[in-house]
Amino acid sequence: MTDNYVYIIVALLPITALMSVLQVNPYNALIIRGILGAVSVMIYAVLGAADVALTEALVGTMLGVALYVIAVRSSFVMRLGIVEPKLEPEPKLELELALAIKQRKIQESEELNENFSFIRETLFKDFEIEPKTYLPEVIDNIRKIVKKHYLRLELVEYPNSEMLEEALASEEVHAICTRQENYSNGSKVLTDRTFVPKDRIAVRVHRLFEILQPQLNIPNSIVEYKAGSDKEEKH
């Protein structure tokens, strides 16, 4: 039973355990955990515990690692709420749309409605109008920062800013990103000098705020911390 090679095989176990502890990225650590499982299966079998080895292989290595990957994937996510981009054609285009409809001379109103949407879609395709991506540079920057901490960024779109604030308050999202356009107060008259788009990022989780605050350096953007009802720690 006590052959020489048994000692060498048993010595592999602490090496792999150390490797798994030293990994920083959670997914890499999980794969090393799988390697640790394979090595420990070998040790159990060599030492004569066949049932333990089988259990370790089926439950510990296969099921455990797969479940942990799913769990890490669904929990290491930062949900960022934004107002969904509006798909509005420009006025000039609206004119051309009307012209196109007129040219086609469609009488029946039902048909017209169907065709209207069809023409609209084709026009949009023709002019290559994409729905305006909202705040692309800020979102890219946040994604880059958050990726350093192995978090995924998930965008959640809301129809208007009131629902966005409500979602932040009811803890549906971890942070919201809004673009404030400065109107001269109250009268909603846009003057050229005061029009500065200002991106405001409100973060509910304090740890995320600590991560984002020093690293997000885009002009005209501010990061602020809004304390939620409970002090949930993230990451």
């Binding site: 390697i35 090595v39 060599v46 066949a50 089988l54 292989a57 797969a66 994937r73």
Partner: protein, 83 residues
Amino acid sequence: MDSILIAMILALLIPMYEACRNDNIWQQMLAFGSIATKTSIIMLFISVLRDDWMIGVISVIILSVGNAGLMLLAHLIKGLNQT
């Protein structure tokens, strides 16, 4: 026979070193697959060496199930990289 076994364990050490050194997740998956195959072959070898049926059956089961688990894991990680 012992020297053959020690050579096999040395071959097992190479993908382990690789998995420790490389940070790319697919390279680590490759190393994991290699280690899974190698450990079960070593187990099979030991079972023949000792004329032990029990270890042999376990090693063959692990050879097939471990590979299936590896495929599952690969698909999970692929879905992870896409989002």
